[in-house]
């Protein structure tokens, strides 16, 4: 089956776009990512799927510049003018902080966005701004809570609000493997979908939940060290490479659920 090939031309075919070109990551003597090329259009939600250890989170970290890599990340605006490195909003998979840490949501916003040291003082203006940011994710009431006391879903929404302040060119979401219930995940995805329309955001999502990917993603990229295939969720999920990577059990359970949905 033929898939839509990446557009390697200098210009974006439509609106603004983000290009990952020839990304390679080597850690120690292990090649984690080899020649990854991705092309994302604004307003699209692109999901990256792949088995454990496929290099999904590594790809996000390389895009952030947190991991040494070769290759380029480019952002081009509507006119196809070269705009260089995009402003990236990032929602990490998990935070490494100690859950008993006396750090409030307001503190987290202050240390990210303000020049005023968070230990010294806070102003009404900052609080108002943070409240506005949090209201985008229905989290106004979370401002004075300790980040360690938030539920998995609440923390994820707070991190999303933080990633959107200031509004980025490209939003990178690393979906948590655990700690969020199904309801929390759907609420998170609904919020992401709404914000995408509102701000015309390019979103790259690393996901482990293929059902949610099918429901929310415009495009899916299957990677395992390098890009194996890409396209619409339907195209990728029906590709034999996908069933090979995820195994027969996944393929069968999918077929079952499709049958069930058909009956309903």
């Amino acid at each position: 089956m033929e898939h839509e090939q990446y557009n390697f031309g200098e210009h974006c075919s439509g609106l603004c776009c983000t290009k990952v070109e020839n990304f390679c990551v080597t850690i120690g003597s292990t090649k984690i990512l080899d020649d990854v090329n991705i092309h994302i259009h604004c307003g699209e939600l692109t999901a990256i799927i792949g088995p454990n250890g496929a290099g999904k989170s590594t790809l996000l970290k390389a895009m952030l510049g947190d991991i040494k890599h070769t290759g380029e990340l480019q952002f081009l605006d509507e006119k196809g003018k070269h705009n260089g490195h995009p402003l990236i909003g990032y929602v990490p998979q998990n935070l490494s902080f100690d859950s008993s840490a006396p750090t409030s949501v307001l503190d987290l916003f202050m240390v990210s966005n303000s020049k005023i040291p968070a230990w010294l003082l806070t102003t009404k203006k900052i609080k108002e701004k943070v409240k506005t940011s949090l209201s985008k994710v229905n989290g106004e009431n979370l401002m004075n809570k300790r980040i360690g006391s938030l539920s998995g879903g609440e923390l994820q929404r707070v991190l999303l609000a933080l990633a959107l302040d200031p509004v980025p060119d490209l939003l990178l979401l690393d979906e948590p493997v655990s700690g969020i219930d199904q309801k929390g995940l759907e609420l998170f995805y609904n919020t992401v979908s709404e914000l995408r329309k509102e701000y015309d955001l390019s979103i790259i999502l690393v996901s482990h939940d293929l059902d949610l990917v099918e429901k929310y993603a415009d495009r899916v990229i299957l990677i395992n060290g390098t890009v194996l295939c890409s396209g619409t969720p339907k195209e990728v999920f029906n590709d034999e490479k996908t069933s090979k990577v995820f195994g027969m059990s996944w393929y069968n359970s999918r077929a079952d659920s499709e049958k069930k949905n058909g009956v309903q």
Binding site: G28, L60, K61, L64, G65, D66, I88, G89, Y90, P92, L95, S96, F97, D98, S100, A101, P102, T103, S104, L106, D107, L108, M110, V111, S112, S114, K115, P117, A118, W119, L120, L121, T122, N144, R146, I147, S149, L159, L162, A163, L172
Partner: protein, 280 residues
Amino acid sequence: MLEFIYKVLDTVLPFQWAGHEFMKNALLAILLITPLFGLLGTMIVSNKMAFFSDSLGHGAFTGIAIGSLLGLLKPVFAAVVFSVIFALIITVIKNKSRASTDTVIGVFSSIAIALGLVLLSLGGSFNTYSAYLIGDLLSISPTEIAVLIFVFLAVIVLWVIIFNKLLLVSVNQSLASSRGVKTLPVEIIFTSMIAVIVTISIQWVGLLIINSLLVLPAAAARNITGNVRKYTLFSVIIAIFSGIGGLIASYYLNTATGATIVLISGIIFFISLAFKSKFN
């Protein structure tokens, strides 16, 4: 200048213990150094770096040994240079290597203390230096207070500049990268600050207990606070309170000042533990 401060202290503190000049010097030193312990301690505890700061004490000890061997009158200046380099090495290796942080620190810390002991015991004159193990706060001189004022101001300024970045790095390194924070330089500045503070204080507080002064006030403060401002404020207040309380108590009980200070902050820590459930 100093005469004026002494006069002010005499007026404000008309007590017997404050009558001696060495007590006044010690009090001034405590007022300058304990807030810094409280301040830096907040991030040491938050970043789980208690073991790291402990090893810096060992690095400082070795630095003093090297300074003494070089025949310096004030080995502490050689020690500052050495322990900053020591801190840099540990920080860089910790970032570059995939070995566990504990192991990296453990290796360097034990080598440092062993080297320090070997160097100081060369020629069998170790007893001269055993003062560095326990420290003597009452030996502080006016010149040293002047140095402390300079260090105090430098730390406050740096803390204003790097704190936000440092906290963001400690919450999530990739998140910090996405905000344009350069992780390694921020960590290096922080660890160098700890190295300097630990090294210059070691002669007054002593190697054995210096780490408790860094860790205890912050550990107590985090039990009873829910945001960064209160955390910092309480940590600094507890540090200053223990410092002054320990100085006065040690005068009347005739005990080692540094250790008395640590005991008081230890008691405060356990009191704070009792109130912990209210804040979590």
